[in-house]
Symmetry: C2
Subunit: 334 residues, 2 copies
């Protein structure tokens, strides 16, 4: 029965049925155990048909113009005969609508186009949960024929790092004035990017955007690229005037060409799959640990004692592990 | 009996008895369960007397002149009336002697001085194990009156990140020619450093060192400092001519002054203790998982299936967790 139902989803996705696709994603996001079982079957079924799309991450501080850019970029891609999917990772998102893609009114043209598929950020208590659901959604979209898949993220917590770990091409969008002192560019982001776009390069900001671009190029010359041999580009774009969009897509295509040619893209996909498996295992091990009654009785007191300098971390860890496993101390015995 | 023995170690360490201190560190490094029990008692006993020293990390590629610098810096500190300890994190170290501090012949003066304590890198199968032992050794050295504690590390794997996480002031040593294109400076390191020293700024390299310094200063202007408000300095030094050493120490002292004054040092120590406790817990949870017979029977096949794209990561993770807990699937049920 589950097999039949899974087959319904798999065939619907492969036939690019939007309604079935949306239902399948909802299934992935469900926390009900019976839904999970079915979701896994669906994921197994579509796996051979996934992995082919370019996965693009778009990040940037609030106000950098991510949504406007994605709207312009998405419409450009549709003009090129492509079908585009947009996902979001927003840890601040709640059922009532988060700060990005919470409503689709910010991407009016794209949201109503039948060759675009936009999905707001899933909700979740932890960023890990939000990211996991987004990551699982990507293969479904690929199997349904969307390419590229765009993952939009805000600069909250580790959301960029998580987005970067699930895409092929990570892009930072910034505003002209951010270049001056790299304010508004979060520490560590520069090391993740494959490209930087200085947005709003129009009107009064045109000159300022060129200066920002120059400063960013200089900074990047002094950093190592995320992929050996790839030169990180900085381009000015105007979502308003729709300038620079085509140049950006050519850059992404050039990157894909290089990565596919060298076998790096395939290697990266394999590595991502393996890392992801371990990430899920480790999360669950920790969740079981924290929710163990013996552990949760000790944890607040011991954690405070460690923070206060009354108990060495190694002793606290050992006592917690004893509580969890009910075994004799053997943390150090290796 | 264990209490009496622990007391012997604790009193010996507090009395700065080098022989007892060395024995206590050996105890920490031991993998025998009975030694661990005793080691924990000792660590608990000395905890109230630790935490007062400045912890300095010194990193750099092979050939950057780390040992020569530490020799000159250590002797300078002794001249200032201080007692200095030098530890090493070298994942390539084997019982037969690793690539750094494997023999003490490279720090001849310091190694024989009675106000210096040098300890080679502990051996370990995994970098995590090597780092853990080094981290546990620091409070013992502090209780014995050493200040500063210098942690030397090579640029292998994650060793710098681990060293940076256990020190207050992380310093990169580089050579004059590294500045040109930042070659030889590992990706991600620039973000961790509190200071950069361009070594060998003497003889034929003097001009080149100045150029390298200039390029590095420019690069740092475009990055965020590891601590808000702290300006990362780049200084040229000559271990040979003993130039720049005093200036470097003044920089470290200024940093300590700021950090203590603002309460950031204390906050950082609390955070480190807490992180470390969790790190040990997570390592042990993963070790138990991997060594579980049911899991280890499935793991190689499932991991390959995930890498090969035959099984979705979420399904593999769930099957492994089932094997471990012998429970019904409930990974997604949260």
């Amino acid at each position: 029965m589950g097999v039949l139902e899974a087959d319904f989803y798999i065939r619907g996705i492969l036939a690019s049925d939007r309604r079935v696709l949306a239902k399948a994603i909802t299934l992935l996001e469900s926390t009900r155990p019976e839904d999970q079982e079915l979701a896994w079957r669906v994921q197994e079924g579509i796996l051979p048909h996934s992995g082919g799309a370019m996965r693009i991450g778009i990040s940037g501080a609030p106000g950098a113009g991510k949504s406007t850019f994605i709207e312009a970029f998405g419409m450009y891609l549709i003009g090129q005969g492509r079908r585009v999917a947009v996902l979001a990772i927003d840890p601040s998102s709640k059922r009532s609508g988060g700060s990005i893609l919470g409503d689709k009114t910010r991407m009016l043209q794209l949201a109503t186009h039948d060759r675009a598929f936009i999905r707001p950020s899933p909700t979740g208590d932890a960023l890990g949960g939000v990211a996991r659901k987004t990551r699982q959604t990507i293969p479904l979209l690929e199997a349904a024929g969307y390419d590229p898949i765009i993952v939009e993220t805000v600069g909250v917590g580790q959301s960029e790092t998580m987005a970067a770990s699930m895409v092929d091409f990570f892009t930072l969008i910034t505003t002209p004035n951010a270049g001056d002192d790299l304010q508004g560019i979060k520490r560590g982001i520069m090391e993740l990017v494959h490209a930087i776009l200085v947005n709003k390069a129009d009107g009064a900001f045109e000159e300022q955007a060129k200066t920002a671009r120059h400063i960013l190029v200089r900074a990047l010359e002094l950093m190592h690229p995320p992929v050996p041999g790839w030169k990180v580009s900085v381009e000015t774009v105007s979502s308003l005037r729709e300038e620079g969009i085509g140049r950006y897509w050519e850059m992404v295509e050039a990157f894909r060409g290089e990565m596919v040619g060298s076998g790096q893209l395939a290697a990266e996909r394999r590595r991502q799959a393996r890392d992801w498996m371990w990430e899920m295992v480790e999360e669950e091990l920790k969740r079981r640990f924290i929710t163990n009654h013996q552990v949760s009785a000790l944890l607040p007191g011991l954690e405070q004692a460690v923070i206060g300098g009354a108990v060495p971390p190694v002793v606290a860890a050992s006592q917690l592990l004893d509580a969890h496993f009910g075994a004799s101390r053997n943390l150090g015995a290796r």
